[in-house]
Protein backbone atom coordinates (compact mmCIF):
# COMPACT_ATOMS: atom_id res chain seq x y z
CA UNK A 1 0.00 0.00 0.00
CA UNK A 2 1.53 3.31 -1.03
CA UNK A 3 1.93 6.26 1.30
CA UNK A 4 -0.82 7.96 -0.63
CA UNK A 5 -3.41 5.73 1.03
CA UNK A 6 -2.16 6.13 4.59
CA UNK A 7 -4.60 8.81 5.81
CA UNK A 8 -7.57 6.74 4.63
CA UNK A 9 -6.12 3.39 5.58
CA UNK A 10 -8.64 2.76 8.34
CA UNK A 11 -11.57 3.43 6.06
CA UNK A 12 -9.95 1.38 3.31
CA UNK A 13 -9.51 -1.62 5.59
CA UNK A 14 -13.03 -1.17 6.86
CA UNK A 15 -14.42 -1.30 3.36
CA UNK A 16 -12.25 -4.27 2.53
CA UNK A 17 -13.51 -6.04 5.62
CA UNK A 18 -17.11 -5.35 4.68
CA UNK A 19 -16.48 -6.64 1.16
CA UNK A 20 -14.92 -9.80 2.54
CA UNK A 21 -17.91 -10.33 4.79
CA UNK A 22 -20.51 -9.99 2.09
CA UNK A 23 -18.61 -12.21 -0.31
CA UNK A 24 -18.11 -14.81 2.35
CA UNK A 25 -20.58 -17.03 0.55
CA UNK A 26 -17.99 -17.59 -2.12
CA UNK A 27 -15.46 -19.06 0.26
CA UNK A 28 -17.57 -20.65 2.95
CA UNK A 29 -21.20 -21.34 3.73
CA UNK A 30 -22.87 -18.35 5.32
CA UNK A 31 -22.62 -18.54 9.10
CA UNK A 32 -25.77 -18.67 11.18
CA UNK A 33 -26.85 -15.46 12.82
CA UNK A 34 -25.89 -15.57 16.50
CA UNK A 35 -28.56 -15.25 19.19
CA UNK A 36 -28.21 -11.67 20.44
CA UNK A 37 -27.31 -11.09 24.09
CA UNK A 38 -29.82 -9.19 26.24
CA UNK A 39 -29.78 -7.81 29.74
CA UNK A 40 -29.58 -10.30 32.61
CA UNK A 41 -32.08 -8.21 34.52
CA UNK A 42 -32.00 -7.85 38.29
CA UNK A 43 -33.41 -11.23 39.28
CA UNK A 44 -30.89 -13.94 38.46
CA UNK A 45 -31.42 -15.98 41.62
CA UNK A 46 -29.31 -14.77 44.52
CA UNK A 47 -29.98 -17.92 46.48
CA UNK A 48 -30.06 -20.99 44.27
CA UNK A 49 -33.03 -23.26 44.98
CA UNK A 50 -32.30 -26.75 46.28
CA UNK A 51 -34.07 -28.23 43.28
CA UNK A 52 -32.52 -26.87 40.11
CA UNK A 53 -33.46 -29.60 37.67
CA UNK A 54 -35.10 -29.01 34.34
CA UNK A 55 -38.64 -29.41 35.66
CA UNK A 56 -39.75 -26.05 37.02
CA UNK A 57 -43.31 -27.19 37.58
CA UNK A 58 -42.61 -29.62 40.38
CA UNK A 59 -40.22 -28.89 43.19
CA UNK A 60 -38.35 -31.92 44.56
CA UNK A 61 -40.82 -34.58 45.76
CA UNK A 62 -43.80 -32.24 45.84
CA UNK A 63 -46.93 -33.40 44.04
CA UNK A 64 -48.44 -29.93 43.81
CA UNK A 65 -47.62 -28.41 40.44
CA UNK A 66 -46.94 -24.77 39.77
CA UNK A 67 -49.74 -22.53 38.55
CA UNK A 68 -49.55 -21.68 34.87
CA UNK A 69 -49.78 -23.08 31.37
CA UNK A 70 -47.48 -26.07 31.22
CA UNK A 71 -44.92 -25.70 28.46
CA UNK A 72 -42.47 -28.23 27.08
CA UNK A 73 -39.47 -26.18 26.09
CA UNK A 74 -36.87 -27.73 23.83
CA UNK A 75 -34.07 -26.50 21.66
CA UNK A 76 -30.46 -26.92 20.65
CA UNK A 77 -27.31 -25.05 21.46
CA UNK A 78 -25.38 -24.57 18.21
CA UNK A 79 -22.21 -23.00 16.97
CA UNK A 80 -22.39 -20.40 14.24
CA UNK A 81 -21.48 -23.08 11.72
CA UNK A 82 -24.52 -25.08 12.77
CA UNK A 83 -22.72 -27.82 14.70
CA UNK A 84 -24.19 -28.82 18.07
CA UNK A 85 -22.49 -27.76 21.30
CA UNK A 86 -21.96 -30.59 23.76
CA UNK A 87 -21.64 -30.12 27.54
CA UNK A 88 -23.20 -26.69 27.47
CA UNK A 89 -25.28 -25.87 30.54
CA UNK A 90 -28.46 -24.01 29.77
CA UNK A 91 -30.04 -22.18 32.71
CA UNK A 92 -33.49 -20.63 32.57
CA UNK A 93 -35.31 -18.43 35.06
CA UNK A 94 -38.59 -16.55 34.90
CA UNK A 95 -41.26 -15.10 37.16
CA UNK A 96 -44.10 -17.32 38.31
CA UNK A 97 -47.72 -17.06 37.15
CA UNK A 98 -48.27 -14.25 39.68
CA UNK A 99 -45.29 -12.25 38.38
CA UNK A 100 -42.91 -13.02 41.23
CA UNK A 101 -39.27 -13.96 40.67
CA UNK A 102 -37.26 -16.38 42.73
CA UNK A 103 -35.00 -13.66 44.13
CA UNK A 104 -35.02 -12.30 47.65
CA UNK A 105 -35.57 -8.78 46.35
CA UNK A 106 -38.74 -9.85 44.59
CA UNK A 107 -40.11 -12.82 46.48
CA UNK A 108 -39.31 -11.07 49.75
CA UNK A 109 -41.74 -8.16 49.42
CA UNK A 110 -44.18 -10.21 47.33
CA UNK A 111 -44.11 -13.37 49.43
CA UNK A 112 -47.89 -13.42 49.83
CA UNK A 113 -48.57 -13.59 46.09
CA UNK A 114 -45.66 -15.88 45.19
CA UNK A 115 -46.47 -19.32 43.83
CA UNK A 116 -44.45 -21.41 46.27
CA UNK A 117 -44.72 -24.43 44.00
CA UNK A 118 -42.92 -22.87 41.07
CA UNK A 119 -39.24 -23.74 40.99
CA UNK A 120 -38.33 -20.47 39.28
CA UNK A 121 -34.97 -21.67 37.99
CA UNK A 122 -33.66 -24.74 36.24
CA UNK A 123 -30.68 -26.03 34.34
CA UNK A 124 -29.85 -28.72 31.78
CA UNK A 125 -26.56 -29.83 30.29
CA UNK A 126 -26.49 -30.74 26.62
CA UNK A 127 -25.21 -34.00 25.19
CA UNK A 128 -23.65 -34.58 21.82
CA UNK A 129 -26.77 -33.45 19.96
CA UNK A 130 -26.66 -30.08 21.68
CA UNK A 131 -30.30 -30.54 22.67
CA UNK A 132 -31.81 -29.20 25.86
CA UNK A 133 -35.27 -29.57 27.37
CA UNK A 134 -37.30 -28.09 30.19
CA UNK A 135 -40.79 -28.30 31.54
CA UNK A 136 -41.92 -24.91 32.72
CA UNK A 137 -44.84 -22.48 32.50
CA UNK A 138 -45.63 -20.14 29.66
CA UNK A 139 -44.15 -16.80 30.72
CA UNK A 140 -46.41 -13.96 31.83
CA UNK A 141 -45.92 -10.17 31.83
CA UNK A 142 -44.18 -8.52 34.76
CA UNK A 143 -44.60 -4.91 35.98
CA UNK A 144 -42.48 -2.78 33.69
CA UNK A 145 -42.09 -5.65 31.22
CA UNK A 146 -45.23 -6.05 29.12
CA UNK A 147 -43.47 -8.69 27.03
CA UNK A 148 -43.56 -12.09 28.74
CA UNK A 149 -40.11 -13.60 28.60
CA UNK A 150 -37.83 -16.38 29.82
CA UNK A 151 -34.28 -15.51 30.82
CA UNK A 152 -31.48 -17.88 29.95
CA UNK A 153 -27.75 -18.32 30.25
CA UNK A 154 -25.46 -20.71 28.41
CA UNK A 155 -22.33 -21.79 30.22
CA UNK A 156 -19.54 -24.17 29.35
CA UNK A 157 -16.35 -25.04 31.12
CA UNK A 158 -17.24 -22.64 33.89
CA UNK A 159 -17.50 -19.70 31.51
CA UNK A 160 -20.62 -17.68 30.71
CA UNK A 161 -21.03 -17.85 26.95
CA UNK A 162 -24.31 -16.03 26.54
CA UNK A 163 -26.91 -14.27 28.68
CA UNK A 164 -30.17 -13.34 27.01
CA UNK A 165 -33.93 -13.82 27.04
CA UNK A 166 -36.63 -14.85 24.63
CA UNK A 167 -40.19 -13.62 24.25
CA UNK A 168 -43.47 -14.85 22.85
CA UNK A 169 -43.98 -14.29 19.13
CA UNK A 170 -47.14 -12.29 18.46
CA UNK A 171 -47.73 -11.17 22.05
CA UNK A 172 -49.19 -7.65 22.00
CA UNK A 173 -47.04 -6.64 24.96
CA UNK A 174 -43.87 -6.93 22.87
CA UNK A 175 -44.62 -3.68 21.11
CA UNK A 176 -44.75 -1.82 24.43
CA UNK A 177 -41.69 -3.44 25.94
CA UNK A 178 -38.46 -1.54 26.54
CA UNK A 179 -36.13 -4.52 26.17
CA UNK A 180 -37.79 -5.67 22.96
CA UNK A 181 -37.63 -2.17 21.53
CA UNK A 182 -34.00 -1.95 22.57
CA UNK A 183 -33.17 -4.68 20.06
CA UNK A 184 -32.50 -2.30 17.20
CA UNK A 185 -31.93 -4.82 14.45
CA UNK A 186 -35.21 -6.26 13.19
CA UNK A 187 -33.67 -9.61 12.37
CA UNK A 188 -32.26 -9.86 15.89
CA UNK A 189 -35.79 -9.34 17.16
CA UNK A 190 -36.83 -12.49 15.30
CA UNK A 191 -34.00 -14.42 16.90
CA UNK A 192 -35.31 -13.76 20.41
CA UNK A 193 -38.91 -14.68 19.68
CA UNK A 194 -40.35 -18.15 20.13
CA UNK A 195 -43.67 -19.74 19.22
CA UNK A 196 -45.72 -21.32 22.00
CA UNK A 197 -47.82 -23.89 20.20
CA UNK A 198 -50.70 -25.70 21.89
CA UNK A 199 -50.09 -29.44 22.11
CA UNK A 200 -52.74 -31.25 20.12
CA UNK A 201 -55.08 -33.35 22.20
CA UNK A 202 -53.60 -32.20 25.47
CA UNK A 203 -56.31 -32.38 28.11
CA UNK A 204 -54.51 -29.91 30.31
CA UNK A 205 -53.79 -27.21 27.75
CA UNK A 206 -50.07 -27.86 27.41
CA UNK A 207 -47.87 -25.92 25.03
CA UNK A 208 -44.64 -26.69 23.31
CA UNK A 209 -41.93 -24.26 22.43
CA UNK A 210 -38.76 -24.76 20.42
CA UNK A 211 -35.92 -22.28 20.78
CA UNK A 212 -32.48 -22.81 19.27
CA UNK A 213 -29.56 -20.86 20.69
CA UNK A 214 -26.72 -20.00 18.32
CA UNK A 215 -23.48 -18.99 19.96
CA UNK A 216 -21.48 -16.19 18.37
CA UNK A 217 -18.17 -17.86 19.00
CA UNK A 218 -17.23 -21.49 19.14
CA UNK A 219 -16.68 -22.28 22.83
CA UNK A 220 -13.40 -23.96 22.04
CA UNK A 221 -11.98 -21.13 20.02
CA UNK A 222 -10.49 -18.07 21.60
CA UNK A 223 -10.53 -15.83 18.52
CA UNK A 224 -13.43 -14.76 16.35
CA UNK A 225 -13.83 -16.86 13.23
Amino acid sequence: MSDLFLPDRRMFLGTLGAALFTTRGLFAEQLMLPTPPLTEGPFYPDKMPLDRDNDLILISDSTTPAVGEITHLTGRVLNANGSPVKDATVEIWQCDANAVYLHTRDSGPKAAQQDKHFQGFGHFTTGSTGEYRFRTIKPVPYPGRPAPHIHFKVKKGGRDLLTSQFMVRGHEGNLRDGVFAGVRDLVDRELILADFVPVKDSKIGEHKCHFDIVLGRTPDEGARS
Partner: protein
Protein backbone atom coordinates in the same frame (compact mmCIF):
# COMPACT_ATOMS: atom_id res chain seq x y z
CA UNK B 1 2.34 38.93 8.52
CA UNK B 2 -0.40 38.36 5.97
CA UNK B 3 1.07 35.00 5.05
CA UNK B 4 1.05 33.90 8.68
CA UNK B 5 -2.56 34.99 8.98
CA UNK B 6 -3.50 33.06 5.86
CA UNK B 7 -1.69 29.98 7.11
CA UNK B 8 -3.46 30.18 10.44
CA UNK B 9 -6.75 30.53 8.61
CA UNK B 10 -5.82 27.55 6.47
CA UNK B 11 -5.01 25.43 9.51
CA UNK B 12 -8.28 26.39 11.18
CA UNK B 13 -10.23 25.54 8.05
CA UNK B 14 -8.50 22.18 7.81
CA UNK B 15 -9.26 21.45 11.43
CA UNK B 16 -12.88 22.41 10.94
CA UNK B 17 -13.07 20.26 7.82
CA UNK B 18 -11.55 17.35 9.72
CA UNK B 19 -14.22 17.71 12.37
CA UNK B 20 -16.95 17.72 9.78
CA UNK B 21 -15.38 14.84 7.93
CA UNK B 22 -15.65 12.49 10.91
CA UNK B 23 -16.98 9.09 10.00
CA UNK B 24 -20.72 8.92 10.61
CA UNK B 25 -21.75 8.08 14.14
CA UNK B 26 -24.26 5.43 15.12
CA UNK B 27 -27.60 5.59 13.31
CA UNK B 28 -30.13 8.00 14.81
CA UNK B 29 -32.22 6.61 17.62
CA UNK B 30 -35.96 6.34 17.60
CA UNK B 31 -38.26 3.58 16.47
CA UNK B 32 -38.41 2.79 12.82
CA UNK B 33 -35.15 4.44 11.89
CA UNK B 34 -34.24 3.78 8.27
CA UNK B 35 -30.77 2.81 9.41
CA UNK B 36 -31.79 -0.36 11.20
CA UNK B 37 -34.06 -1.51 8.35
CA UNK B 38 -31.19 -1.21 5.87
CA UNK B 39 -28.88 -3.05 8.24
CA UNK B 40 -31.37 -5.88 8.64
CA UNK B 41 -31.83 -6.18 4.90
CA UNK B 42 -28.08 -6.39 4.39
CA UNK B 43 -27.75 -9.15 6.97
CA UNK B 44 -30.45 -11.19 5.27
CA UNK B 45 -29.31 -10.58 1.70
CA UNK B 46 -25.93 -11.97 2.73
CA UNK B 47 -27.67 -15.35 2.52
CA UNK B 48 -28.36 -14.81 -1.18
CA UNK B 49 -25.81 -17.42 -2.24
CA UNK B 50 -26.47 -17.26 -5.98
CA UNK B 51 -26.71 -13.47 -5.98
CA UNK B 52 -29.98 -13.34 -7.87
CA UNK B 53 -31.33 -10.58 -5.63
CA UNK B 54 -33.85 -12.95 -4.05
CA UNK B 55 -33.80 -15.23 -1.04
CA UNK B 56 -35.19 -18.69 -1.52
CA UNK B 57 -36.28 -20.91 1.34
CA UNK B 58 -33.19 -23.04 0.70
CA UNK B 59 -30.89 -20.05 0.96
CA UNK B 60 -32.55 -18.77 4.12
CA UNK B 61 -32.96 -22.20 5.66
CA UNK B 62 -32.61 -21.06 9.27
CA UNK B 63 -35.84 -22.25 10.85
CA UNK B 64 -35.70 -19.36 13.29
CA UNK B 65 -36.37 -17.05 10.36
CA UNK B 66 -39.29 -19.00 8.87
CA UNK B 67 -41.93 -16.78 10.48
CA UNK B 68 -40.20 -13.68 9.12
CA UNK B 69 -39.84 -15.26 5.69
CA UNK B 70 -43.53 -16.05 5.51
CA UNK B 71 -44.54 -12.57 6.66
CA UNK B 72 -42.31 -10.97 4.07
CA UNK B 73 -43.15 -13.24 1.12
CA UNK B 74 -46.16 -11.18 0.15
CA UNK B 75 -46.97 -13.02 -3.07
CA UNK B 76 -46.27 -16.43 -1.53
CA UNK B 77 -43.99 -17.54 -4.33
CA UNK B 78 -41.46 -19.15 -1.99
CA UNK B 79 -38.88 -16.44 -2.44
CA UNK B 80 -38.30 -13.07 -0.86
CA UNK B 81 -37.06 -10.09 -2.85
CA UNK B 82 -35.20 -7.12 -1.52
CA UNK B 83 -38.29 -5.01 -2.26
CA UNK B 84 -40.60 -7.28 -0.26
CA UNK B 85 -38.10 -7.14 2.60
CA UNK B 86 -37.92 -3.37 2.53
CA UNK B 87 -41.69 -2.98 2.53
CA UNK B 88 -42.33 -5.40 5.38
CA UNK B 89 -39.44 -4.40 7.62
CA UNK B 90 -40.19 -0.70 7.24
CA UNK B 91 -43.80 -1.38 8.20
CA UNK B 92 -42.79 -3.39 11.26
CA UNK B 93 -40.20 -0.87 12.38
CA UNK B 94 -42.80 1.89 12.17
CA UNK B 95 -45.36 -0.16 14.10
CA UNK B 96 -42.96 -0.58 16.97
CA UNK B 97 -42.21 3.15 16.98
CA UNK B 98 -45.90 4.10 16.95
CA UNK B 99 -46.89 1.70 19.69
CA UNK B 100 -44.26 2.95 22.02
CA UNK B 101 -45.46 6.52 21.44
CA UNK B 102 -42.57 8.21 19.65
CA UNK B 103 -42.67 11.95 20.33
CA UNK B 104 -42.51 13.74 23.62
CA UNK B 105 -44.65 11.13 25.33
CA UNK B 106 -41.68 8.91 24.87
CA UNK B 107 -41.42 5.19 25.46
CA UNK B 108 -44.07 3.40 27.47
CA UNK B 109 -44.46 3.86 31.18
CA UNK B 110 -45.37 1.22 33.63
CA UNK B 111 -43.25 0.22 36.57
CA UNK B 112 -39.53 0.16 37.09
CA UNK B 113 -37.36 0.36 34.02
CA UNK B 114 -35.28 -2.69 33.28
CA UNK B 115 -34.50 -1.69 29.72
CA UNK B 116 -32.04 -3.75 27.75
CA UNK B 117 -29.00 -2.27 26.08
CA UNK B 118 -30.28 0.94 24.56
CA UNK B 119 -33.79 0.07 25.70
CA UNK B 120 -34.30 2.21 28.77
CA UNK B 121 -37.87 2.35 29.98
CA UNK B 122 -38.44 5.48 32.07
CA UNK B 123 -40.16 4.79 35.38
CA UNK B 124 -43.87 5.47 35.81
CA UNK B 125 -44.79 9.05 36.69
CA UNK B 126 -44.66 9.50 40.44
CA UNK B 127 -41.94 6.91 41.04
CA UNK B 128 -39.59 8.36 43.63
CA UNK B 129 -36.66 6.04 43.04
CA UNK B 130 -36.96 3.44 40.31
CA UNK B 131 -35.91 -0.11 41.09
CA UNK B 132 -32.67 0.02 39.14
CA UNK B 133 -31.54 3.09 41.08
CA UNK B 134 -32.42 1.41 44.37
CA UNK B 135 -30.18 -1.44 43.27
CA UNK B 136 -27.39 0.88 42.19
CA UNK B 137 -27.49 2.72 45.51
CA UNK B 138 -27.67 -0.56 47.39
CA UNK B 139 -30.38 0.60 49.74
CA UNK B 140 -30.60 -1.18 53.05
CA UNK B 141 -33.79 -3.03 53.96
CA UNK B 142 -34.70 -0.24 56.35
CA UNK B 143 -34.22 2.37 53.66
CA UNK B 144 -36.29 0.33 51.23
CA UNK B 145 -39.09 0.12 53.75
CA UNK B 146 -39.04 3.87 54.34
CA UNK B 147 -38.98 4.46 50.60
CA UNK B 148 -41.89 2.10 50.12
CA UNK B 149 -43.94 3.93 52.76
CA UNK B 150 -43.10 7.27 51.20
CA UNK B 151 -44.11 5.91 47.79
CA UNK B 152 -47.50 4.85 49.15
CA UNK B 153 -48.00 8.35 50.51
CA UNK B 154 -47.03 9.92 47.20
CA UNK B 155 -49.31 7.61 45.25
CA UNK B 156 -52.26 8.41 47.46
CA UNK B 157 -51.70 12.14 47.42
CA UNK B 158 -51.09 12.27 43.67
CA UNK B 159 -54.32 10.39 43.08
CA UNK B 160 -56.10 13.06 45.11
CA UNK B 161 -54.55 15.88 43.14
CA UNK B 162 -55.47 14.55 39.71
CA UNK B 163 -59.05 14.26 38.63
CA UNK B 164 -60.52 11.09 37.20
CA UNK B 165 -59.96 12.03 33.54
CA UNK B 166 -56.37 12.95 34.18
CA UNK B 167 -55.70 9.65 35.90
CA UNK B 168 -57.32 7.86 32.98
CA UNK B 169 -55.21 9.78 30.49
CA UNK B 170 -52.07 8.80 32.34
CA UNK B 171 -53.25 5.21 32.26
CA UNK B 172 -53.85 5.33 28.55
CA UNK B 173 -50.45 6.78 27.80
CA UNK B 174 -48.78 3.97 29.65
CA UNK B 175 -50.82 1.27 28.06
CA UNK B 176 -51.22 1.95 24.36
CA UNK B 177 -52.70 -0.85 22.39
CA UNK B 178 -55.35 -3.37 23.33
CA UNK B 179 -55.19 -5.07 26.68
CA UNK B 180 -53.92 -8.61 26.64
CA UNK B 181 -56.33 -11.52 26.88
CA UNK B 182 -57.96 -12.14 30.25
CA UNK B 183 -56.30 -14.48 32.68
CA UNK B 184 -52.97 -13.02 33.59
CA UNK B 185 -53.54 -9.30 33.32
CA UNK B 186 -50.35 -7.41 33.91
CA UNK B 187 -50.65 -5.86 37.35
CA UNK B 188 -49.09 -2.61 36.21
CA UNK B 189 -50.98 0.47 35.03
CA UNK B 190 -49.62 3.64 33.49
CA UNK B 191 -50.59 5.29 36.74
CA UNK B 192 -48.77 3.50 39.52
CA UNK B 193 -51.25 1.05 40.88
CA UNK B 194 -49.96 -0.96 43.79
CA UNK B 195 -51.44 -4.38 44.13
CA UNK B 196 -52.08 -5.04 47.81
CA UNK B 197 -50.77 -8.38 49.12
CA UNK B 198 -53.45 -11.05 48.82
Amino acid sequence: MLRRFLMAGGVLTCAAAALVAQPPGPPPRGGGSGGSVDGSIERLMAFDANKDGKLSKEELNDERLTALFERVDANKDGSVTKEELTVQLTKEAAALGANRGGGPGGPGFGGPGFGGPGGFVPPAPGTILPQFLQDELRLSDEQKKQLSDLQKEVDTKLAQILNREQRQQLNEMGNRGPRGPGGNRPPEDGFRQRRPPQ
